[in-house]
Structures are given as C-alpha cells and as structure tokens.
C-alpha cells in the first residue's frame, strides 16, 4: 500500500479553483519532487495535505496509510505522521524554541502510546540533533524563529523534522533564501532521514535542491494538474528548457 495517496484532488481558495485533479502515490522509502512555476498550486498542495484553514477541498481524497487525512485537523495529521517544512516559518515571540519542541515531541509520543520525555532526556536529544545539523545548541533558548536568519529558520525546520520523525515530510520550497552552504547542511539533514518507512514530497522551483536531495520521481505541476512525470532526469531537462511547454500544453 502506498504511504500517501492523493486521488483526483481538487481544491479552491476563496472560490477560485487552484488544484484541478491531482493524483499521486508515494511509496514508502521514496522521494517525490514536485516542480513548477509560481502560481501553479505547489504551496496549495502542501497546505491542503497539512490541513491549513482557508482551502476548500471540492473533490478527491488524501490517504495516509489508507486513512482519510482530510477528515483530520492539522494537529491530528501531524500526530499521524505528516510534517510540513514551511517555506516561511513564522516567528513567534515569547515562545522559546525549547518549550515548543518539547510540547510537540511529547504530543507525538503520547499519540504513539509512548512515555513523555523528561527535561533531561529532551536536552540530551536536542543536543545531539543540533550538533548533527551544525546548529548552536543555545538557539533552542531563543524565541521560536525570532531573529533567525533564513538559513537558521530552515535548519530549525529540519531540526523539528528530525525530532518528530514523520512518516511523510513535505518540504515546501525549502531551498528558497538559502545560500549554498546552508543548502548543503539542510539537504544532509534531510538525507539522513531517508528511510524505508518514510516518504518525502519535495516542492521546489529550481533543480538545484535536487542535486542534493536526489528524487526517485519528479512531477511537473502546471495549472493545478500534473502535466508530466518522470525520473530525476526530468528535473535536469526542466532546468535547461524551462516550464513553457508544460504551461502551453496544460492551458
């Protein structure tokens, strides 16, 4: 059974149809890349899967391990194993990164029937994870994402991902705003999480990220539909030739 199944998904925002019939199946252990120009529904797709308010699903299904994701609230989806790495992680003043991480981790553990981690275990865990991502450990004492550089925010997203160990990780334009060094660190973090029981949906505008996170499948999203699918060579082709032919064909 596919880990994530998207069947004929239609969604609209404020009455305007954005997704117009997306069908996609992610097998465990695979990385799928979704590419496409701006305004074709890439972020809508990630938000609909993650459960952000303001999107109306007018048709179709999204199943995680066969369970109806669309019937779950955003927090239920997260506890079921969906993780969205945000394109623009929000800054939340007053909430420390450590309090946030510990609350999220324990919510997940409770849902899995595991015991909560105590303060000592938590600190030990975070120390190891931040070190692996080349992040200063002190960063968890700071307010969540407040004053973080673009690179720090994306690293913090990957840190959350490595702590929460999702079934499905969606990376929404994770490469935006990253210099090449940060891109490498973030990609290594993601690659270290590749596992036989986990799938990735990597949404990106450029092929560059896919040099570091090498996908098994690449899909082109144009006008709310998947216009083409292929292997990783499709990304290279898109980089060379652009999206024009898919936009024309789908229009």
């Amino acid at each position: 059974m596919a880990l994530l199944e998207i069947k004929n998904l239609h969604a609209s925002v404020a009455g305007k149809a954005i997704l117009k019939g997306i069908t996609l199946a992610l097998e465990p252990g695979t990385v799928h890349a979704i590419m496409g120009p701006n305004g074709t529904g890439k972020s809508t797709l990630s938000n609909v899967i993650a459960g952000r308010e303001g999107y109306d699903v007018t048709e179709g299904e999204v199943l995680l391990d066969g369970k109806n994701v669309l019937a779950m609230s955003a927090d239920e989806r997260a506890r079921a194993g969906i993780f969205l790495a945000f394109q623009y992680p929000v800054e939340i003043p007053g909430v420390t990164t450590s309090a946030f991480l510990k609350t999220a981790l324990n919510a997940k553990r409770r849902a899995e029937g595991k015991t909560e981690v105590d303060a000592m275990e938590f600190l030990k865990l975070v120390k190891a994870k931040t070190a692996a991502l080349g992040m200063p450990y002190d960063m968890i004492k700071r307010a969540l994402n407040v004053g973080f550089s673009g690179g720090e925010k994306k690293r913090a997203e990957v840190l959350q991902m490595t702590l929460l160990e999702p079934r499905l990780a969606i990376l929404d334009e994770t490469d935006s705003g990253l210099d090449i060094d940060a891109l490498k660190v973030v990609s290594e973090g993601v690659n270290s999480l590749r596992a036989p029981d986990r799938a990735f949906l990597v949404i990106t505008h450029y092929q560059r990220l896919l040099d570091y996170i090498v996908p098994d499948h690449v899909h082109v999203l144009a006008h709310g539909r998947i216009a083409a699918s292929g292997g990783k060579e499709l990304a290279v082709e898109l980089e060379a030739e652009g999206y024009a032919k898919y936009l024309d064909a789908a229009a």
Binding site: R52, E53, P93, G94, A107
Partner: protein, 411 residues
C-alpha cells in the same frame, strides 16, 4: 493630605466614624461621568454594604496562603485586611531599612479613592531605605472577610535615600469567602540617584475589589523599574502616577493582565515629564477571555521646558473569545518641542498563522493557544530584571492558563 486633615471633605464623616458601622462614603465615589473612571464603573462597589475592618469581623488568618513567590533573602511584611501583622512578618529587616508600622503621613494623591483611603487608614506603614546591599522586601496583603463584606485601606510610604537601591515585591491576594474591598495608597519618593525595583502582583479573590493608587516622584538621576501583574478580582484598578522631579531620571513602568470570567482590570498610568532629560518607557500586555473587561489608560505629559524627554508607551491586548471588552486610551500631552515620544496600541486575536504552525507540529489547539498566550504575556514579563520574580510571574500566568483550561473542561 493627612487623615486628620480630611475632616472637611465629604469623606470626613467617614474619618469621624472611622470605627463606626456601615460605610457612609459610597455616595461620593466617582461616577461614569468622571472621565478618569469612564471605563471602570463603581456601581457594584457602591451598592455593596461594606463594613470597616475590625477584629470582630476578621477571619483569623494564622498562616500565609499558598502560591506566594519565594524571593531569596526577602524580608516579609504581612498585612491582613490592611492591618500590619507582626506575628506573620519578619522582625529584622537588616541594615539600612527602617520599617515603622504606625505612621500617619500625607500622600500627594488627590483622587477620591486616595482621599477615601486617607479618611479610613488608621495607620500607615513607612519604609525608609538608605545605603546599599539592602534586603528585598516582600509585602503581602491578604484580604479575608468574615460574615460581612469588608473594606480596608492599606497605606504605604516608601522613601529611598540618595544613591540607595531597594527592591520590593508586593503580593495582593485574598481568601475565598465574603467579598472585600482593598483600597491601597502607596506614596513613593526616590531621592537623587536612588533606584527602586517594584513588582506588584494583584491576584485577588474573584469576588474582590481592589483599587490601588500609587504616586511616585523621582529626583535627578533616580530610576524606577516597576512591573504590575493583574490576574483577577471582580474589579481591579492599578493606578500609577510617576513624576520626574530632577534631570536624568528614568522610569520603566510595565505590566500584564490576564482576565477570565467576569473579571475587570484597569491600568491607569500617568507619566509626568516635569523636567528635561528624563526617559520613560511603558510596556503593557493583556489577554481577556470570558466576559471580562480590560482597560488601559496611559497619559504622558511633557511640560513646556522638558526638552530632550524620551517617552514611550505600548499597550497590546488579545481577545481570547468573543465576549470580552478592551478599552485603550493613550493620551499624549506634549508641550516641549525637542522630544522623542512614541506610543502604540494594538488589539487583536491569536494569529492564525501562529496557531497553524504549532498545530502542524502535532500540538492540539487548546495547548497551542495556551503556549501563544503565555508567549504573548512573557514578552512583557521579560522586562522584569530579577530572575526569581520573572520566573514567579511566568508561573502565575501558567497557573492562570491551567485554571482557564479546567474551567473549559479540559484535563
């Protein structure tokens, strides 16, 4: 005005009847047409048949309530129903601190509530601080009414000598039971280069009234850091007036409130830049739930010759539901031309993007909201420079958040 001078005022009859029966002052309280009290109606207060505190009406308080902050090394000063309690207080305050508990002294406050206090307060407490390395003082005021609604009028004067530095923590709490009305007046005088850190927590019983008037004067080079926390009471007003009397003085006046049920909380501040070259900053944040009512009135006055004044004021509030009311009235009266003044006010709801971000990490909506509210108020509490006090205030906010969850049927 001293209590004995008040005999000509309408409240004078109260003074004459100080230990008499029912309060004759209720008809003289400010009404809704008094601008300063427009948002804080005193109807319920005025219609409650309060009796003055007296031994016969007191509940016997023999120990301190739980949940008070533990401040390392602090000397404790306890009032029960406005009366000093030697048995619950520390006897020794250490070098440089003089505490006298039976003083009649004048207050510069002229508000009706301050006059009412003067009329009733039999004796005040005077704290005089001089020198360095003083022990912090923890003043605890406990309201505990017996069979009848009770009114009491604590009166406090704090003076800090030149170059001396004092920290005072005040906890205003109450025992559940009959309603009570606490009407404290505090007069603070900071001499040249004196500094005071004052942290006030008002967490009265949900049926209680608390109308506090504080006047602070700061001489040249003096500094004030104050934080006021408001966590409950049927009707609470914390009115704080700061007046700069000498150049180079600074005041940081901050606060936070968290209201639920039918709680009413009013912060009224006056920052009087009476002389040049002084700095003031104010950060107040509040959250309101249920049918509560939050008020912030902040007046900044910069006199004509008070050049190079720097005055900042910020009030931000969050509605946690559709029921509450929040009124905010900043007033800037600036008569000097070379000044830096900034004020900001914002009222809104919890940010949906923030909420989604937390929920997308598996945090349920109620917990996510609590985290965000705590974070919002923490932004003000971090202005407290004493770590013990800051931690206590954050704990108190967490306790408030938990009680709110319990009220909604969450474990």
């Amino acid at each position: 005005m001293k209590p004995s001078e008040i005999i000509d005022h309408p409240f004078g009859s109260a003074y004459a009847m100080r230990l008499g029966a029912k309060a004759p002052w209720l008809g003289h309280l400010p009404g809704p047409k008094t601008e300063a009290w427009r948002f804080t109606p005193l109807r319920t207060l005025a219609s409650t048949p309060f009796v003055p505190a007296s031994a016969s009406n007191d509940v016997d308080v023999t120990e301190l309530p739980r949940g008070l902050p533990l401040i390392a090394g602090a000397a404790r000063l306890v009032l029960v129903n406005g009366a000093y309690r030697a048995d619950l207080s520390d006897r020794e305050f250490g070098q440089g601190l003089t505490v006298s508990t039976a003083q009649e002294f004048a207050s510069s406050a002229r508000s009706p509530l301050a006059l009412l206090n003067a009329a009733y307060a039999a004796a005040g407490i005077s704290i005089d601080a001089a020198g360095a390395g003083l022990r912090p003082i923890h003043l605890i005021s406990i309201g505990a009414a017996g069979a009848e609604p009770l009114a009491f009028h604590p009166r406090l004067r704090i003076t800090v000598a030149p170059a001396a530095s004092l920290t005072i923590i005040e906890s205003h709490v109450g025992l559940p039971g009959q309603t009570y009305f606490s009407n404290p007046v505090t007069e603070i005088v900071l001499a040249e280069k004196a500094s005071l850190r004052r942290y006030v927590s008002v967490a009265e019983d949900s049926e209680a009234f608390h109308l506090a008037t504080t006047t602070i004067s700061i001489a040249a080079g003096g500094s004030l850091e104050a934080f006021h926390l408001g966590l409950g009471g049927a009707l609470v007003r914390q009115e704080i007036s700061v007046r700069f009397e000498g150049r180079g003085a600074a005041a940081r006046l901050n606060g936070a409130y968290a209201l639920s049920g039918r709680a009413h909380h009013d912060f009224t501040t006056v920052m009087d830049h009476n002389v040049p070259d002084c700095h003031s900053s104010q950060v107040f944040k509040g959250v309101a739930d249920g049918d509560s009512h939050g008020v912030f009135q902040g007046r900044i006055h910069v006199a004509r010759d008070s050049q190079r004044s720097d005055a900042r004021q910020l009030h931000k509030a969050l509605f946690l539901s559709r029921g509450p009311q929040i009124d905010c009235k900043p007033e800037l009266e600036i008569y000097a031309d070379d000044v830096q003044c900034a004020h900001g006010a914002a009222t809104g709801e919890i940010d949906h993007d923030h909420l989604f971000y937390l929920m997308s990490r598996g945090i349920d909506p109620a917990t996510a909201r609590s985290l965000l509210v705590e974070g919002f108020l923490t932004e003000a509490v971090i202005e407290v420079s004493v770590p013990d006090v800051q931690a206590h205030f954050i704990d108190a906010i967490r306790t408030w958040l938990k009680s709110r969850e319990i009220a909604r049927g969450r474990p």
